[in-house]
């Protein structure tokens, strides 16, 4: 406020209020009419009317001064109001900045989550294409059982084969031995007979 020099104030007032259009002129006129009234030799009625007129002018001056004071008050209060609004808006701006930063972080997080979900979906699609693990396990178990059953049967058949082989072997050896014994007996019978006949012939 001290930076505004008197020159500028005077210049501004001259610009706005040229020759005192209104207030200044009124005060000057009042002073002039007051001195004229004090020095006038006129009649008391004239003096009275002049006195009334001066009171009127005085009232007008007081009125306009009161108005100016009120306008000044109003300006001060407007300034305060604007300062308040200004600081409020600044606060809002900073909080909006903060919210924007938060939202940006949120968006990054959401994008990451979305990427993870999509990767999961892609993998799940492939996994679905492969058959279920339980089913495959069951199939494996069934095959195992069949395999065992079949190997069991094979063992049994093998054992039976062995047994039959042995039995036939025994049978065949016995038959061969019997054959041998019979041949031996026949041969010894023939020998006996041929020995007896020369003995009979010799007698």
């Amino acid at each position: 406020m001290g930076a505004v020099t008197d020159d500028e104030v005077i210049r501004k007032r001259l610009l706005i209020d040229g020759d005192g259009a209104g207030d200044d002129r009124r005060i000057n006129l009042l002073l002039k009419s007051f001195t004229k009234w004090c020095n006038s030799p006129g009649s008391p009625e004239e003096g009275f009317t002049q006195y009334q007129r001066m009171l009127g002018t005085l009232a007008q001056c007081e009125f306009s001064m009161g108005k100016t004071l009120m306008v000044y008050d109003m300006n001060l209060r407007e300034m305060e109001n604007y300062e308040k609004i200004y600081s409020n808006i600044e606060q809002n701006i900073t909080s909006a900045h903060d919210k924007i930063a938060e939202c940006k972080k949120e968006i990054q997080r959401a994008k990451r989550i979305r990427k993870n979900r999509q990767e999961y979906d892609a993998l799940a699609k492939i996994i679905q294409q492969h058959p279920d693990r339980h089913e495959t396990l069951k199939q494996l178990e069934a095959l195992d059982k069949e395999l065992q059953h079949l190997s069991h049967i094979k063992e049994n058949v093998d054992a039976k084969l062995e047994l039959r082989k042995k039995q036939f072997h025994v049978l065949l050896t016995t038959i061969q031995e019997l054959q041998q014994t019979l041949e031996n007996d026949e041969k010894s019978d023939n020998d006996d007979q041929s020995q007896e006949s020369p003995a009979q012939n010799g007698e």
Binding site: Q108, K111, R112, Q118, L123, I126
Partner: protein, 323 residues
Amino acid sequence: MGPVELLHMSVFSQSFSPCGRFLAAGNNYGEIALFSLAAALSPDATTANQKPVLTFTAHEGPVFSLLSTDSVLLSAGNGEVSAWNWTELIKKNVKPLWTKRPNYKSSLEIPEINSMAINPRDDSLAIGAGDNNVHILDLEHGAFKVTLRGHTDYVHCVCVREREAELLSGSEDGAVRMWDCRTGQSVHCIEVHKYESCARPQHGKWISCLTTDSDWMLCGGGPSLSLWHLRSLSPTSVFPLSGCQRRAAFHQDMILAVGDGAFVSHCLLGGEVKGQIPCTPPSLNTLQLNTKSSEHRVLTVGGGSSKIDVFTNLSYRAFSLSF
């Protein structure tokens, strides 16, 4: 650069600087152009800011691959790899730090280098070359360590699977091979064209697009772009994109893919195409996201034109840089 040359220019590769403020792009004439993103993205940018701050001829052949480390820009062209210091490039000093050539068996023709990838674990550079092999260069010692042999046709793309220390390579012969970085042996071989859901015999069996984020892999080219689960080596989703895709990237919860067609395709992991954003080049060869900088987070795409489209918001093209 006359107007006819500009008309026939294709951008094959891009790379952002480690500070995130510059973009290097390589074209089919062997030139690399440096664009200042800070200037182009500033609120008072003019058309002059969309031109390169520096253009120089790096190789005699097309620059098919560009890669940035913390301080160095690696460029591959004409069968050799050159390294340029970023701070020197920003100061417009175009002298390469070194140039190396993998030892190719055949001396008749020079195989081109199609793709490079850095393995941060052991600071090595994997080079996918046209001689059907992947050469591994040790960046610390500057010597070629191993050559991974196994592909029967030239290698289009390589990428690194960080968590398991594996390298993936996709080739013209339709196979995606997984190599163990330490032993140098091929661990798995996936022939994508043999899977009915992915195969597109009308386009061929070549794999030109490969990217991974350790658990999942995207591959495409002749066969449709498909998402694979690496643990089970099975394709989980196939994307119904009509052209052949040349580059794809995972970005947050989406997949960005570029290839035939003047658009960038946004797809969801489930296999649906969310949208296709149009752009200026008639077909796209390269896609890069500037993840290193926080204030210049842009997506840039380049392809069969001298213009590189810049997307500040993924939903629409903001402006184009031109060579």
